[in-house]
């Protein structure tokens, strides 16, 4: 179940090396595979040096925003006498994204090791790993791995005998996409509604429990041990020409490809190769219609845009979208793009936290207009209305959930207008199953 595909020569397995290898799950198995040497190495280094290594590796946040990880760590106050926290964001909820789940399922100790190194680097004694509530299996595996890590002395009052305290607490979410937003996640750990907070203050100044906090994605943290053992130069060298996008990235591919799954690629791999070579291309008789390349919150790409797109942070932006979390939703020519966009807006309307007006009311209204269009009752002015609402919903709220709802609508209408017009003028309808 969820079994990884056989390794494809186009992949560069770093994080995914042991996906499908149950032996890697235990502490002993992880040590056999070279695990915890990076942590031992890091604990012997001053924290600032660890930060420097990560900085020079070019590692960028793998959760969606792509912020340089080492730089983020360097924002933490130094020797300020207050407790610091590391938070690992394992609330992977972005539709189309399912990479962190695999990391936790197959290599829990990779994440624990990454968390421990990062904790040391930022001066945190405690790390919270926030795992979304639906991830029952990763939760179980991580729970066992953390217990094991304490039992063998990797964690606790003297991590690996270093005299340095490092604790990891697993915290389970309970069904709220927005908790993947870093400040909402902090509120959630604090036992509150998962409402995003206003920034400033930024987490490094006042984060979890009002204390200096760094929050990193699972994939980001899991990459850190490799950078420590193999060196920043090695990691920076994993790039196909763009010095700003280095290393490997797990790309979750889903939808209409022959072999959906997680593919670890060197950043810079052409998107076309990823879809048509690594993932086996479209189903027989089908052609590519559209790709949402970075989780559902980013603009849709059409075939022309996919054609020349290089899969790294800047490349996807140049093509008209964003790499985001690296969750790629591939749609072939059988797709009713209007319905799929509608289904995404329903997702956002369901997940809106209710704080900001534009998001709370705008997501629901967008859904209702799309429903009307799908029922064949749309008006000629509806597309302009949707675009205007999208404008009013973009760049005006505390977090970007509202923008995320608007992005597929705007790009969908821009790039697939004929599909919408088929509903408005050609009498097309679509059943609205479910609720």
């Amino acid at each position: 179940m969820g079994f990884p595909h056989p390794l494809h020569p186009g992949e560069t397995p770093v994080l995914s090396t042991y996906f499908g290898d149950p032996g890697a799950r235990s502490h002993a198995g992880w040590v056999e595979r070279g695990g915890y040497t990076a942590l031992r190495q890091a604990l012997a280094m001053p924290p600032s040096e660890v930060v420097e290594v990560v900085k020079s590796s070019g590692l960028r946040g793998r959760g969606g925003a792509g912020f340089p990880t080492g730089l983020k760590w360097s924002f933490m106050p130094k020797e300020d006498g207050r407790p610091h926290f590391l938070v690992c964001n394992a609330d992977e909820s972005e539709p189309g994204t399912f990479k962190d789940r695999e990391i936790m399922r197959w290599t829990p100790h990779a994440l624990i090791e990454g968390c421990a190194i990062a904790s040391h680097a930022i001066g945190a004694e405690r790390c919270y790993i926030y795992i979304r509530g639906e991830f029952t299996e990763p939760w179980r595996i991580m729970t066992e791995a953390v217990a094991e890590a304490y039992a063998v002395g990797v964690l606790g009052s003297s991590a690996l005998g270093s005299g340095r305290r490092i604790d990891i607490v697993l915290h389970r979410g309970a069904g709220a996409y927005i908790c993947g937003e870093e400040t909402a996640l902090m509120n959630s750990i604090e036992g509150k509604r998962g409402n995003p907070r206003i920034k400033p203050p930024f987490p490094a100044q006042a984060g979890l429990f009002g204390l200096p906090t760094t929050i990193n994605n699972v994939e980001t943290l899991a990459a850190v041990p490799h950078i420590l053992t193999r060196g920043a130069d090695w990691y920076r060298g994993l790039s196909l020409g763009n010095p700003k996008s280095t290393g490997t990235k797990l790309i979750s591919v889903c939808g209409h490809v022959m072999r959906p799954g997680n593919y670890e690629i060197t950043l810079g791999t052409p998107m076309r190769d990823l879809i048509f070579d690594l993932c086996g291309g479209m189903r027989p008789g089908r052609t590519l219609k559209a790709v949402i390349p970075g989780g559902s919150s980013v603009p849709i790409l059409n075939t022309t845009e996919v054609e020349g797109c290089v899969t790294d942070y800047e490349g996807v932006v140049a093509a008209g979208s964003m790499l985001g979390s690296g969750g790629m939703i591939v749609m072939d020519d059988s797709t009713d793009i209007v319905y799929e966009i509608y289904r995404l807006t329903r997702f956002y309307a369901h997940e809106s936290c209710a704080q900001c007006t534009q998001c709370r009311e705008g997501t629901g209204w967008t859904v209702r207009i799309l429903e009307r269009i799908l029922r064949g009752e749309g008006k000629a002015s509806d597309l302009d209305l949707l675009l205007d609402l999208a404008e009013n919903m973009t760049g005006k709220t505390i977090c970007v959930l509202s923008d995320s709802c608007a992005a597929p609508v705007v790009s969908g209408i821009q790039k697939f207008r004929a599909d919408f017009e088929a509903y408005l003028t050609a009498g097309r309808t679509h059943a609205l199953a479910g609720v």
């Binding site: 189309g96 029952t136 309970a174 979750s252 939703i329």
Partner: protein, 169 residues
């Protein structure tokens, strides 16, 4: 909701006693505030009772030194906390776009038919299942995923549904 209040009113037996209380208290050191133990505590209630009743809200508020209003605001924010009694087994099936592209609508249809629930959110007449539609379960490459209680099942097809339900009585 009010009917459910009525049935349990006055007959609430506390969740946080004995082992469950000990498990909760064991978490206190993991957080600087008691409030931070709220989500874990709510999970314990749901584990014990299958849903989170107003009486349980009042109880957990007292145990953690919070107000019932705060707890209620939290319970209603997170969709995995059930505010109503559910069937003996809760099936959560994903229907968000990536799964919809791969036929989740048919999986939902098969689930509603096989369980006898008839509609989403409803409990089957025998009280065995409640089927709810959920947003993205984070296994989009293995569409369609579903959770039966805590069992995460991937690549569900309409044909597999009947077999998968066996064993959940």
């Amino acid at each position: 909701m009010s009917a459910a209040h009525a049935t349990e009113a006055g007959t609430h037996s506390p969740v946080f006693t004995g082992d469950t209380l000990a498990r909760l208290e064991a978490l206190y050191d993991s957080y600087p505030t008691r409030q931070a133990c709220l989500l874990p505590a709510l999970w314990m209630i749901q584990e014990a009772r299958g849903w989170i009743s107003p009486e349980s809200i009042a109880e957990v508020a007292t145990v953690l030194g919070l107000t019932p209003a705060h707890v209620r605001g939290v319970v209603t924010f997170y969709t995995m906390y059930h505010q109503h009694p559910m069937g003996r087994h809760v099936i959560q099936v994903c229907t968000t776009s990536p799964c919809h592209l791969n036929g989740s609508a048919d999986v939902v249809g098969a689930l509603l038919k096989e369980t006898g629930c008839g509609e989403l959110g409803a409990t089957s007449p025998d009280g065995r299942f409640t089927v709810v539609e959920v947003e993205c379960l984070g296994a989009c490459g293995f569409a369609t995923p579903m959770l039966i209680d805590d069992d995460f099942i991937e690549s569900v097809t309409p044909e597999r549904v009947a077999g998968l339900l066996q064993g959940y009585e």
